[in-house]
Assembly symmetry: C2
Homo-oligomer: 162 residues x 2
Protein backbone atom coordinates (compact mmCIF):
# COMPACT_ATOMS: atom_id res chain seq x y z
CA UNK A 1 0.00 0.00 0.00
CA UNK A 2 1.21 3.50 -0.89
CA UNK A 3 1.41 5.26 2.47
CA UNK A 4 1.22 8.83 1.11
CA UNK A 5 -1.91 7.89 -0.80
CA UNK A 6 -3.37 6.48 2.43
CA UNK A 7 -2.58 9.78 4.20
CA UNK A 8 -4.34 11.90 1.56
CA UNK A 9 -7.48 9.77 1.75
CA UNK A 10 -7.23 9.85 5.56
CA UNK A 11 -7.01 13.66 5.44
CA UNK A 12 -10.23 13.67 3.39
CA UNK A 13 -11.82 11.56 6.15
CA UNK A 14 -10.66 13.91 8.88
CA UNK A 15 -11.99 16.87 6.88
CA UNK A 16 -15.40 15.21 6.96
CA UNK A 17 -14.95 14.08 10.56
CA UNK A 18 -14.01 17.59 11.69
CA UNK A 19 -17.71 18.45 11.41
CA UNK A 20 -18.29 16.17 14.40
CA UNK A 21 -15.86 18.20 16.52
CA UNK A 22 -17.18 21.54 15.23
CA UNK A 23 -20.85 20.68 15.77
CA UNK A 24 -20.69 18.62 18.98
CA UNK A 25 -23.92 16.90 20.12
CA UNK A 26 -23.88 18.54 23.57
CA UNK A 27 -26.85 19.08 25.85
CA UNK A 28 -29.30 19.49 23.02
CA UNK A 29 -28.64 15.93 21.87
CA UNK A 30 -28.72 14.64 25.45
CA UNK A 31 -32.24 15.93 25.87
CA UNK A 32 -33.62 14.38 22.69
CA UNK A 33 -35.84 11.31 23.07
CA UNK A 34 -33.82 8.35 21.82
CA UNK A 35 -34.62 4.68 21.26
CA UNK A 36 -33.40 2.16 23.85
CA UNK A 37 -30.83 0.72 21.43
CA UNK A 38 -29.04 4.08 20.93
CA UNK A 39 -25.29 3.39 21.27
CA UNK A 40 -23.62 5.14 24.24
CA UNK A 41 -21.88 8.41 23.35
CA UNK A 42 -18.32 7.08 23.59
CA UNK A 43 -19.04 4.58 20.79
CA UNK A 44 -19.49 7.27 18.13
CA UNK A 45 -15.95 8.75 17.97
CA UNK A 46 -14.44 5.25 18.32
CA UNK A 47 -16.61 3.94 15.49
CA UNK A 48 -15.90 6.89 13.20
CA UNK A 49 -12.15 6.87 13.81
CA UNK A 50 -12.01 3.13 13.04
CA UNK A 51 -14.17 3.55 9.94
CA UNK A 52 -12.04 6.44 8.64
CA UNK A 53 -8.83 4.42 9.06
CA UNK A 54 -10.44 1.42 7.31
CA UNK A 55 -11.84 3.30 4.32
CA UNK A 56 -8.62 5.29 3.81
CA UNK A 57 -6.82 1.91 3.79
CA UNK A 58 -9.40 0.56 1.29
CA UNK A 59 -9.02 3.55 -1.04
CA UNK A 60 -5.22 3.39 -0.93
CA UNK A 61 -5.35 -0.28 -1.96
CA UNK A 62 -7.93 0.17 -4.72
CA UNK A 63 -7.00 3.57 -6.24
CA UNK A 64 -3.87 2.25 -8.04
CA UNK A 65 -5.74 -0.73 -9.57
CA UNK A 66 -7.08 -0.91 -13.12
CA UNK A 67 -10.82 -0.40 -13.28
CA UNK A 68 -11.07 1.58 -10.03
CA UNK A 69 -13.00 4.49 -11.56
CA UNK A 70 -16.40 3.63 -10.02
CA UNK A 71 -14.84 2.70 -6.68
CA UNK A 72 -13.22 6.15 -6.58
CA UNK A 73 -16.42 7.90 -7.66
CA UNK A 74 -18.41 6.22 -4.86
CA UNK A 75 -15.60 6.93 -2.41
CA UNK A 76 -15.75 10.64 -3.30
CA UNK A 77 -19.55 10.67 -3.05
CA UNK A 78 -19.60 9.04 0.39
CA UNK A 79 -17.02 11.44 1.87
CA UNK A 80 -18.90 14.48 0.58
CA UNK A 81 -22.20 13.30 2.10
CA UNK A 82 -20.43 12.19 5.27
CA UNK A 83 -19.19 15.78 5.70
CA UNK A 84 -22.67 17.13 4.94
CA UNK A 85 -24.70 15.08 7.42
CA UNK A 86 -23.33 16.43 10.72
CA UNK A 87 -23.93 20.15 9.97
CA UNK A 88 -27.49 19.31 8.87
CA UNK A 89 -28.32 17.23 11.97
CA UNK A 90 -26.26 18.85 14.73
CA UNK A 91 -25.71 22.28 13.15
CA UNK A 92 -29.13 23.08 11.68
CA UNK A 93 -30.96 20.53 13.89
CA UNK A 94 -33.00 19.54 10.87
CA UNK A 95 -33.68 15.97 11.95
CA UNK A 96 -35.91 15.17 8.98
CA UNK A 97 -33.75 16.85 6.31
CA UNK A 98 -30.83 14.76 7.59
CA UNK A 99 -32.64 11.51 6.64
CA UNK A 100 -32.34 11.82 2.83
CA UNK A 101 -28.67 12.83 3.28
CA UNK A 102 -28.08 9.57 5.16
CA UNK A 103 -30.20 7.74 2.54
CA UNK A 104 -27.96 8.86 -0.32
CA UNK A 105 -24.89 8.27 1.88
CA UNK A 106 -26.12 4.69 2.47
CA UNK A 107 -26.47 4.12 -1.29
CA UNK A 108 -22.97 5.58 -1.84
CA UNK A 109 -21.50 3.26 0.82
CA UNK A 110 -23.25 0.25 -0.77
CA UNK A 111 -21.78 1.33 -4.12
CA UNK A 112 -18.32 1.77 -2.60
CA UNK A 113 -18.48 -1.60 -0.80
CA UNK A 114 -19.50 -3.50 -3.96
CA UNK A 115 -16.95 -1.78 -6.23
CA UNK A 116 -14.11 -2.17 -3.71
CA UNK A 117 -14.93 -5.88 -3.20
CA UNK A 118 -14.87 -6.37 -6.98
CA UNK A 119 -11.24 -5.23 -7.10
CA UNK A 120 -9.75 -6.24 -3.76
CA UNK A 121 -11.12 -8.55 -1.07
CA UNK A 122 -9.54 -6.69 1.88
CA UNK A 123 -10.68 -3.31 0.63
CA UNK A 124 -14.24 -4.59 0.33
CA UNK A 125 -14.05 -6.11 3.79
CA UNK A 126 -12.80 -2.77 5.17
CA UNK A 127 -16.05 -1.14 4.01
CA UNK A 128 -18.36 -3.56 5.89
CA UNK A 129 -18.14 -1.86 9.31
CA UNK A 130 -19.00 1.45 7.61
CA UNK A 131 -21.99 -0.10 5.85
CA UNK A 132 -23.18 -1.56 9.15
CA UNK A 133 -22.68 1.73 11.01
CA UNK A 134 -24.42 3.88 8.39
CA UNK A 135 -27.37 1.46 8.52
CA UNK A 136 -27.52 1.88 12.32
CA UNK A 137 -27.12 5.66 11.99
CA UNK A 138 -29.93 5.83 9.41
CA UNK A 139 -32.28 3.81 11.65
CA UNK A 140 -31.32 6.03 14.60
CA UNK A 141 -31.85 9.26 12.63
CA UNK A 142 -35.31 8.10 11.47
CA UNK A 143 -36.33 7.02 14.98
CA UNK A 144 -35.03 10.22 16.62
CA UNK A 145 -36.89 12.34 14.04
CA UNK A 146 -40.10 10.40 14.86
CA UNK A 147 -39.63 10.66 18.63
CA UNK A 148 -38.90 14.40 18.55
CA UNK A 149 -41.42 15.98 16.17
CA UNK A 150 -41.26 19.38 17.86
CA UNK A 151 -37.53 20.08 17.67
CA UNK A 152 -36.87 23.63 16.53
CA UNK A 153 -34.43 23.80 13.64
CA UNK A 154 -31.70 26.36 14.01
CA UNK A 155 -32.26 29.27 11.64
CA UNK A 156 -28.92 31.00 10.95
CA UNK A 157 -30.78 34.09 9.70
CA UNK A 158 -32.47 34.53 13.08
CA UNK A 159 -29.20 34.88 14.99
CA UNK A 160 -28.14 38.42 14.36
CA UNK A 161 -24.71 38.87 15.80
CA UNK A 162 -22.78 41.39 13.76
Amino acid sequence: MDFLLFLIFLAACFGAGATGALFPPGEWYERLEKPSWTPPNWVFPVAWTSIYLLIAFAAARVAPLDGSAYAMAFWALQISLNALWTPVFFGLRRLKAAIPVLGVLWVAVVGATVTHFALDFWAGLAFLPYLTWVSVAAALNIKVAQLNPDVQPYDPGAVESA
Copy 2:
Protein backbone atom coordinates in the same frame (compact mmCIF):
# COMPACT_ATOMS: atom_id res chain seq x y z
CA MET B 1 -16.42 10.14 -21.10
CA ASP B 2 -18.50 7.74 -19.00
CA PHE B 3 -21.66 9.70 -18.24
CA LEU B 4 -22.73 7.69 -15.18
CA LEU B 5 -19.28 8.25 -13.70
CA PHE B 6 -19.67 11.99 -14.36
CA LEU B 7 -23.06 11.94 -12.56
CA ILE B 8 -21.64 10.24 -9.44
CA PHE B 9 -18.83 12.79 -9.19
CA LEU B 10 -21.35 15.57 -9.83
CA ALA B 11 -23.54 14.20 -7.01
CA ALA B 12 -20.49 14.42 -4.72
CA CYS B 13 -20.14 18.07 -5.77
CA PHE B 14 -23.77 18.83 -5.08
CA GLY B 15 -23.46 17.16 -1.67
CA ALA B 16 -20.68 19.62 -0.86
CA GLY B 17 -22.53 22.49 -2.56
CA ALA B 18 -25.71 21.78 -0.57
CA THR B 19 -23.97 23.38 2.41
CA GLY B 20 -24.23 26.68 0.55
CA ALA B 21 -28.02 26.37 0.32
CA LEU B 22 -28.35 25.11 3.91
CA PHE B 23 -26.17 27.84 5.43
CA PRO B 24 -27.10 30.84 3.25
CA PRO B 25 -25.04 34.04 3.75
CA GLY B 26 -28.10 36.21 4.47
CA GLU B 27 -28.17 39.47 6.39
CA TRP B 28 -25.30 38.52 8.65
CA TYR B 29 -22.97 38.34 5.65
CA GLU B 30 -24.41 41.53 4.17
CA ARG B 31 -23.44 43.46 7.29
CA LEU B 32 -19.84 42.22 7.39
CA GLU B 33 -17.13 44.66 6.34
CA LYS B 34 -15.81 43.45 3.00
CA PRO B 35 -12.97 44.57 0.72
CA SER B 36 -13.84 46.64 -2.36
CA TRP B 37 -12.97 43.76 -4.68
CA THR B 38 -15.52 41.37 -3.12
CA PRO B 39 -17.42 39.76 -6.01
CA PRO B 40 -21.15 40.58 -6.13
CA ASN B 41 -23.41 37.96 -4.55
CA TRP B 42 -24.77 36.55 -7.81
CA VAL B 43 -21.25 35.53 -8.87
CA PHE B 44 -20.87 32.91 -6.11
CA PRO B 45 -23.55 30.38 -7.13
CA VAL B 46 -22.66 30.84 -10.82
CA ALA B 47 -18.96 30.26 -10.08
CA TRP B 48 -19.60 27.20 -7.89
CA THR B 49 -22.04 25.58 -10.32
CA SER B 50 -19.56 26.04 -13.18
CA ILE B 51 -16.69 24.72 -11.06
CA TYR B 52 -18.68 21.65 -9.95
CA LEU B 53 -19.58 20.78 -13.55
CA LEU B 54 -15.94 21.24 -14.63
CA ILE B 55 -14.37 19.14 -11.87
CA ALA B 56 -16.96 16.36 -12.25
CA PHE B 57 -16.03 16.34 -15.96
CA ALA B 58 -12.32 16.26 -15.05
CA ALA B 59 -12.76 13.35 -12.62
CA ALA B 60 -14.85 11.37 -15.11
CA ARG B 61 -12.08 11.73 -17.72
CA VAL B 62 -9.21 10.90 -15.36
CA ALA B 63 -10.68 8.19 -13.10
CA PRO B 64 -10.58 5.44 -15.77
CA LEU B 65 -6.94 6.18 -16.71
CA ASP B 66 -3.90 4.24 -15.50
CA GLY B 67 -2.02 6.06 -12.76
CA SER B 68 -4.97 8.13 -11.58
CA ALA B 69 -4.59 7.17 -7.89
CA TYR B 70 -3.19 10.50 -6.70
CA ALA B 71 -5.59 12.49 -8.86
CA MET B 72 -8.49 10.65 -7.22
CA ALA B 73 -7.01 11.07 -3.72
CA PHE B 74 -6.71 14.85 -4.21
CA TRP B 75 -10.18 14.97 -5.76
CA ALA B 76 -11.61 13.24 -2.67
CA LEU B 77 -9.68 15.56 -0.34
CA GLN B 78 -10.86 18.73 -2.07
CA ILE B 79 -14.54 17.71 -2.03
CA SER B 80 -14.41 16.86 1.68
CA LEU B 81 -12.86 20.25 2.57
CA ASN B 82 -15.18 22.04 0.17
CA ALA B 83 -18.14 20.59 2.11
CA LEU B 84 -16.50 21.55 5.42
CA TRP B 85 -15.76 25.21 4.71
CA THR B 86 -19.32 26.60 4.43
CA PRO B 87 -20.59 25.24 7.77
CA VAL B 88 -17.48 26.64 9.48
CA PHE B 89 -17.77 30.11 7.92
CA PHE B 90 -21.53 30.61 7.50
CA GLY B 91 -22.77 28.08 10.07
CA LEU B 92 -20.42 28.60 13.00
CA ARG B 93 -19.34 32.09 11.82
CA ARG B 94 -15.79 31.20 12.76
CA LEU B 95 -14.08 33.47 10.27
CA LYS B 96 -10.57 32.65 11.46
CA ALA B 97 -11.07 28.88 11.83
CA ALA B 98 -12.29 28.86 8.22
CA ILE B 99 -8.89 30.12 6.96
CA PRO B 100 -6.88 26.91 7.58
CA VAL B 101 -9.75 24.90 6.03
CA LEU B 102 -9.40 27.00 2.88
CA GLY B 103 -5.61 26.71 3.14
CA VAL B 104 -5.70 22.91 3.06
CA LEU B 105 -8.41 23.07 0.37
CA TRP B 106 -6.11 25.27 -1.71
CA VAL B 107 -3.27 22.73 -1.37
CA ALA B 108 -5.69 19.91 -2.33
CA VAL B 109 -6.84 21.85 -5.42
CA VAL B 110 -3.21 22.51 -6.44
CA GLY B 111 -2.57 18.76 -6.01
CA ALA B 112 -5.66 17.87 -8.03
CA THR B 113 -4.80 20.36 -10.79
CA VAL B 114 -1.23 19.06 -11.18
CA THR B 115 -2.21 15.36 -11.09
CA HIS B 116 -5.10 15.84 -13.51
CA PHE B 117 -2.88 17.79 -15.94
CA ALA B 118 -0.30 14.99 -15.80
CA LEU B 119 -2.89 12.53 -17.16
CA ASP B 120 -5.19 14.57 -19.35
CA PHE B 121 -4.80 18.12 -20.67
CA TRP B 122 -8.54 18.96 -20.66
CA ALA B 123 -9.03 17.61 -17.15
CA GLY B 124 -6.16 19.75 -15.88
CA LEU B 125 -7.56 22.78 -17.69
CA ALA B 126 -10.96 22.14 -16.10
CA PHE B 127 -9.37 22.58 -12.67
CA LEU B 128 -7.90 26.04 -13.38
CA PRO B 129 -11.06 28.06 -12.70
CA TYR B 130 -11.40 26.23 -9.37
CA LEU B 131 -7.79 27.02 -8.46
CA THR B 132 -8.35 30.67 -9.34
CA TRP B 133 -11.62 30.84 -7.41
CA VAL B 134 -10.24 29.15 -4.28
CA SER B 135 -7.34 31.63 -4.33
CA VAL B 136 -9.83 34.52 -4.48
CA ALA B 137 -11.97 32.91 -1.76
CA ALA B 138 -8.92 32.44 0.49
CA ALA B 139 -7.87 36.08 0.05
CA LEU B 140 -11.45 37.18 0.73
CA ASN B 141 -11.75 34.98 3.85
CA ILE B 142 -8.48 36.36 5.25
CA LYS B 143 -9.49 39.97 4.52
CA VAL B 144 -13.00 39.56 5.96
CA ALA B 145 -11.57 37.98 9.12
CA GLN B 146 -9.21 40.98 9.48
CA LEU B 147 -11.94 43.55 8.82
CA ASN B 148 -14.39 41.96 11.29
CA PRO B 149 -12.41 41.05 14.39
CA ASP B 150 -15.44 41.27 16.69
CA VAL B 151 -17.78 38.84 14.96
CA GLN B 152 -19.41 36.53 17.49
CA PRO B 153 -19.08 32.89 16.52
CA TYR B 154 -22.26 30.87 16.78
CA ASP B 155 -22.10 28.48 19.72
CA PRO B 156 -24.50 25.58 19.12
CA GLY B 157 -24.41 24.72 22.83
CA ALA B 158 -25.80 28.15 23.71
CA VAL B 159 -28.99 27.72 21.67
CA GLU B 160 -31.22 25.58 23.85
CA SER B 161 -34.26 24.66 21.86
CA ALA B 162 -35.48 21.24 22.95
